[in-house]
Symmetry: C2
Subunit: 474 residues, 2 copies
């Protein structure tokens, strides 16, 4: 039985998306235009993401810190490209403590500025390097069109900012953190993703280059989900971040930054969820298993609690739902909230020695004997669900991956069923802009080891330089 | 050998405090007036605080969420007392995306407003109650005088906001969360604290009453460290948060809020630290043990690593410092950073079968046999340090606790050696204000079960109603 509150995914994908966000109680609109309330179910997902990524960052030697929220205008303006990239979309504090401020302060849209300002006073020698800092915080960008998780004026993210003694080391860091995001999407979120380099037009304001992690949503629209920037010495020059190198000469540091945001929650929904609500891969689900006893019989309750205890011992997150709601209501709730595995324990089933397992991803019901080895069964089942979800998303992506050799082909794909379009490009901005005229299709990334699929640019027919993936995007 | 960068605590307490903050790399000033950079060592402390408190909150049924940073002026103004309490100290965003805003937005000084605005649309029946929400976030108050951690314009905190179907339940929550703060200070931070009720003058703007957790710093000045407010139905009335009660009648919800901040880091420093730097209680220390091998001999290194492995197995946070710095430098660094226990493993000691343990709190060196049961020894030692630190802080507080029966006595105490002054009070605001004229001495809290120590008000001599603790404060 379909959840009536949720529009069909194939009828209106946009409406379906916001319906799932609301039905699974992930987020709600607020009285502040363009800003959302992240509700407990949504925040629990963000906490899981933080937990897993933070552990990985720390294993790689990063430490967390916290920079101020506000940036003085004069400081922001020191790096020209950054300011021209972000100035149009910042919010300005002009009054503090009832007084007009002498200098206005912007709410951070990103914190390169603040990190540089800090680093310049705290680095002296190559022995102080690298400095591998990260922060988890809120940022604000004055977007015009907003959509829960995907684009909102305020969002939560992590921003890593590192400085190094050599170009090689900094570039290695840029690549390493992109690999972390790729691992996180593929292994944890079960979202197959593609990493590559952004074109000059699409790179981060002020970066030498930007690496990006791109995922394809169910409807064939791409989502940029994690970027890693190599800055070279550009910011260091603007902010005066120098160190004494091994040759005892003063030199500017080499810098990176990299970030992922609550937008990943949007990606999770648009890759995996269905008309019945949220579907979560077991590795990211805040609660992996829910046990629903049907009736109050002692055998039913005691078996429920026994399963819970055994599963918890193995580190599986599980609850027995003993609330006063009806079993039918509990099933529907577990379903809309995307809990990967549901165990139904009923009196009549139990008499026959049976219990029922329901996979959220396939909605398949499986009857098993009550005396099975519950922990190894559930562990295997969760692994299978994780793997199957990834495979299904990969299959969908393959179905929605195309090749184009000229603008007509590109246009025809975008008009029929959008997806990831592989096409060769001459490297000229004019061609990129011309392609964008087709429904706003943008370059997603340049494949660094992309094989040549044509010798000519998909747009102008001149000699092609790069194998690029193009798509509509959020 | 005293750390030269640190002013003596007894010569200039204020300077000593900021010296410790800087020497232990906890925080630094930033280019934004009144805002600090929380450096990795300081942030690691905050992460430990979050970890322990968050676990406790969740055990008690609370869930985390995230409200917007910005509050529209019209929404803030709905509750009169709140706005008059906070309006003088907020920062206003007036420009967004290069346009003057139609309505200015303040950066949250606290989020009662946003929670009420959310709750009003999400509560219908008593079956939806209680709603037990908390958020970890940044807030901003435009303070004039600032000091790292103790008072800064932006700070990090958690704010719990709960709504209930009955007064009893909400008051129980208010008390319960105060008990959590008390437990956290005494058991985890090793800071003896006193809980009581704020006077009308000192309570939170808009609260029916405020419970507070008060700690005494080494110099005899008090620090408010955690408050829990009972709002009754006041905010619910202002924001229209109603529910249908069990009698099927519409009623306003009963509400609480409670919070603790990064200020606790300041408290930790001012209670426990010394002229050699930071001193951390083992239960809050991000790193509990540091092993410093002296020299590179194989036996030295392998014993260091063996200890590390065994201690980690038991959940003790420990590292072997194998960096290229000299042992003397490493000792000093471990000391200034407040690592509770240091293990020095030297070649010559080892030949005699000895290793050396150094307690940070007492700076005592203890030689032990190399084949001791390392995990039980270290566990016991950490427990002893935790207990001793609490006992020392308690002893200090007792030494700085006084009784006053009239204004002359009060004045004399405050002029000699400030501390916690127990005195009776008639309940009149005039007397509270008159007492404040003595060096800014304020009521800290009313002891709810305080025995009568006099029958007359310490100020006016009229009949006394309350046993109050008074002190200078941060």
């Amino acid at each position: 039985m379909k959840n009536n509150a949720i529009t069909s995914r194939d009828i209106d994908f946009g409406k379906w998306y916001t319906d799932v966000v609301r039905a699974a109680k992930l987020a709600d609109y607020s009285s502040v235009k363009g800003c959302i309330v992240i509700e407990p179910n949504g925040y629990a997902l963000w906490e899981r993401m933080q937990e897993i990524l933070d552990k990985k960052f720390k294993e790689l030697g990063h430490v967390n810190c916290q920079m101020p929220l506000l940036i003085p205008e004069s400081l922001l303006k020191k790096e020209g490209e950054l300011v021209s990239g972000f100035a149009p979309e910042v919010a300005w504090v002009t009054i503090g403590g009832q007084k007009e401020l002498e200098e206005r302060l912007c709410i951070r849209p990103t914190s390169e500025t603040m990190f540089c300002d800090y680093y310049k006073d705290h680095v002296k020698s190559h022995r102080d390097l690298p400095m591998l800092y990260n922060q988890w915080c809120n940022v604000l960008r004055w977007e015009k069109e907003t959509r829960p998780f995907l684009r909102s004026r305020e969002f939560l993210w992590q921003e890593g900012h590192t400085i190094h003694a050599t170009r090689e080391e900094a570039e290695k860091e840029t690549k390493q953190m992109m690999d972390v995001y790729h691992w996180f999407h593929n292994e944890i979120l079960a979202i197959p993703s593609i990493c590559g380099k952004k074109t000059e037009k699409e790179k981060f304001a002020g970066a030498e280059y930007t690496l990006t992690n791109e995922a394809l949503m169910y409807n064939g629209v791409a989502l940029q989900s994690g970027t890693s920037h190599y800055f070279g010495q550009k910011f260091a020059e603007a902010y005066g971040v120098t160190f004494t190198n091994k040759e005892n000469k003063e030199e500017f540091v080499y810098q990176t930054s990299w970030g992922t945001t609550t937008r990943m929650i949007g990606g999770l929904i648009m890759v995996h969820s269905d008309n019945f609500g949220l579907v979560l891969p077991p590795r990211i689900a805040p609660k992996q298993v829910i046990i629903i006893p049907i009736g109050q019989k002692e055998e039913v309750i005691s078996l429920s609690l026994k399963y819970q205890e055994e599963l918890r011992k193995e580190g599986i997150t599980v609850d027995v739902d003993r609330s006063e709601k009806s079993p039918g209501f509990k099933f529907a709730e577990a379903e809309v909230n995307g809990i990967p595995l549901r165990i139904e324990i009923g009196e009549r089933d139990l008499e026959k020695g049976n219990v029922t397992f329901v996979r959220r991803d396939t909605r398949e019901k499986i009857q098993e004997k009550v005396d099975l080895d519950i922990t190894s069964y559930v562990k295997n089942m969760l692994d299978t669900i994780q793997k199957d979800m990834y495979e299904r998303a990969l299959k969908r992506r393959k179905e929605l991956t195309f090749e184009a050799h000229n603008l007509q082909e590109m246009e025809s794909i975008l008009n029929t069923q959008p997806g990831l379009i592989h096409a060769m490009w001459c490297g000229k901005r004019e061609c990129e802009e011309k392609i964008k005229e087709i429904k706003g299709c943008k370059s997603r990334c340049i494949l660094e080891k992309g094989e040549k699929i044509d010798s000519k640019c998909v747009c102008c027919g001149a000699e092609a330089k790069e194998h690029v993936i193009w798509a509509l995007q959020y």
